[in-house]
Amino acid sequence: MGNTNGREVGAGGGGQHSQSAVGGHGAVGGQRVGHPGYGVPPPGSHGHPQAQQMRDQGRLGHAPSTESMSQSPSESPGSAARSPLMFTPQVPMVPISKPNELSLGGYAQTQRASQQAYYETSLYGEPDKGVATMIVWSHGGGNVGVIGSWDNWQTRQPLQRSGRDFTLIKVLQPGVYQYKFWVDGVWRYAHDLPAVSDDTNNVNNVLDVQDYVPENLDSVAGFDPPRSPESSYNDPLPGPEDFAKEPPTVPPHLHLTLLNVPQQNEASASLPRPQHVILNHLYVEKEKTNRSVIVLGTTNRFRSKYVTTVLYKPLMM
């Protein structure tokens, strides 16, 4: 596979961390199997033995379509896995992950570790992990500092000058903070950034650190689908001989439905961000016994968030 320090291609962009998966060769591999611009995470790339184990479990069954890239080298150090950072002020950035972070999850090393690891790398920001945030002052001055509610207004930190702007990167827990700039001896606030004034006509800037990066939907819209192949919709309906045949195999990335994510203890723990490929597909629960109830599931996008809906329906005999 050669140099896997590739960056996101096509549908990458600022927010697409989840597609880069492990080692960053998702995009590169994706091109090989003919999915332009898609970050197809190669679950098999963790090594064959694990993929075998998962198949035997019968639950996840990642099909070996990634054979072609199964000879991928071990995960390269984490910095390659993330897409190039876009420095928009106060947009939370991806933390630079250390080499050993990728192979662990917070979860136990079970047989499902490789799928877990996939979900882990697409979730950055576990509850106690800080998010690197950039604070910018672009209104001139000689000496600029910032003081904020993150440490209860105790310390004033200087900002680094870069050109005409002053910047500082802080690692903060997700939450809402207030802060203020100290510019050449005067306390000021940036009027182009979100601010709030309290009861004494004191205005502070407000920083809202999210624990996830909202998807950059523009980059998704920029995806150009290939032209449809020449064929018509006038094919005859399937007859009994068609139903007797085995159905074509499901593309392996559709197995990454969130419905297979092991249930967390708290009912309202949220799921990892889904791959776009599984959206708007209808899934059926694997039939355990001859039940009279059928369980359907689907994942859809609503604005920038994802909703996985599960419906229990009775089977009419």
């Binding site: 105790q154 004494t200 961000r273 369980v295 909703v307 329906k313």
Partner: protein, 417 residues
């Protein structure tokens, strides 16, 4: 100033007006509380080279000094009514400026049940998914028509039990579909409204909170109707806990906006307390003895119109909590079909869910209850209630673990709104 027990507290005053205002910051020694209590320690801001961030000291309230001296040693402070008003105003502003869309997690899951599903399968589904309730979907009309919750299960059990049969066979419950149950419910409770109530993703959080309080329900579906379509999309089930979580997240790092949160709950009119401590005229708290029968527990839950009761042993020492949602644990092994249902004691019912071999999700997994003591601050209580799955805090006496009161999400919202 020196307190009576020798601790020395420092109070700093504001001078310059352009700095953020902070609540009084006494310098605490280690208080002598034995329980595992987190303290809301307010640090004294350090001084910068030239500028001192200031603190606002509310020193003119002499009549509150005594209270402060007592409360100060446990790590919480008393605030003035002006600060309380300011806190409430900030909270109201926040709720008006954020919308139900903010309650949605980035990637969330909702479960819906078809109305034609038999009741038995429905409760097994609720148990499997580990949720207390689900919206009901009618495929013929392509609409959501209501919610199915644990209260429904309790009512069904009571009704079928009162028909004389001490054993309800599985077939009976299997034949009964949710739709039929809804019709029966309408006949049983003609005064209650039975149509679907929901909120949209662009409704403000204060609207959602008010609806939840007004209807006295735990969850409201968030539905989105795409333009030019009558078919709704189910997005989320909004609950008070989710709103509280948003609130916490927003105000966690700006304690100066809500000084009310530093006040200890014992001094606030919030929650439900036992008869010794409760305000005269309010309804005292009921507790369940653990050897009482399950049917008595269910009757008490319905009669007191609460969602959970503390369970105590013979000496009144706090043991556990029995909540309405725990009734779905009876779906395990179809316990509800056993003839001795009425004789099951509360402690046995709790053990069913806590059995070692069940490792799946459910209302009985994880932390079942959280405790606090009367001198804990409101912030401590709110942070605990904001955890997912926690709907109430049991207030106990520090030494003896006797139950003193319960504070629920609803109580907190009633107090804050």
């Amino acid at each position: 100033m020196a307190e009576s027990n020798g601790q020395v507290n420092n109070w700093l005053l504001i001078t310059k007006p352009q700095h953020p205002i902070l609540p009084p910051a006494p310098d605490m020694g280690t208080p002598g509380v034995t329980m595992d209590v987190d303290h809301d320690m307010l640090h004294q801001p350090g001084s910068g080279a030239e500028d001192l961030p200031q603190i606002h000291g509310d020193v003119q309230q002499d009549h509150q000094q005594v209270d402060r001296a007592v409360m100060a040693e446990s790590g919480a402070t008393v605030v003035s009514s002006a600060e309380a008003e300011a806190s409430r105003k900030n909270i109201a502003d926040f709720l008006n400026r954020h919308f139900a869309y903010d309650l949605l997690p980035e990637s969330g899951k909702v479960v819906a049940l078809d109305v034609a599903l038999p009741v038995k399968q429905a409760f097994h589904a609720l148990y499997e998914q580990g949720i207390p309730g689900a919206p009901l979907w009618d495929s013929s009309s392509q609409q959501f028509v209501g919610m199915l919750t644990a209260s429904d299960f309790i009512s069904i059990l009571q009704r079928l039990g009162s028909h004389g049969a001490s054993v309800f066979s599985e077939e009976e419950l299997e034949m009964h579909t949710i739709e039929e149950w809804k019709k029966e419910k309408q006949a049983l409770f003609p005064s209650a409204s039975h149509s679907l109530v929901y909120v949209g993703p662009d409704d403000t959080l204060s609207h959602v909170a008010n609806e939840l309080m007004r209807l006295d329900v735990a969850q409201l579906p968030v539905l989105h109707y795409p333009p030019h379509s009558h078919i709704p999309e189910l997005l989320h089930l909004a609950c008070l806990s989710g709103i509280l979580r948003c609130l916490c997240r927003h105000f966690r790092h700006v304690p100066s906006s809500v000084p009310l949160f530093s006040q200890p709950i014992g001094t606030l009119r919030i929650g439900n307390w036992v008869s010794g401590i409760a305000e005269p005229g309010s309804r005292p708290l009921q507790v369940l003895r653990r050897d009482e029968s399950l049917s008595r527990a269910l009757a008490l839950l319905l009669e007191a119109r609460v969602s959970a009761l503390p369970v105590v042993d013979e000496n009144g020492v706090f043991q556990d909590v029995y909540a309405r949602g725990d009734i779905t644990a009876l779906a395990r092994d179809s316990t509800y079909t056993r003839p001795q249902l009425n004789d099951l004691t509360v402690s046995q019912a709790l053990q069913i869910g806590a059995a070692q071999d069940w490792t799946g999700p459910g209302p009985l997994s994880g932390n079942r209850y959280h405790m606090c003591i009367r001198s804990d601050s409101l912030r401590y209580v709110i942070e605990r209630l904001a955890l997912p799955g926690v709907r109430r805090l049991i207030c106990i006496e520090a030494g003896s673990r006797q139950v003193e009161g319960i504070i629920t999400l609803r109580d907190v919202f009633q107090f804050l709104l």
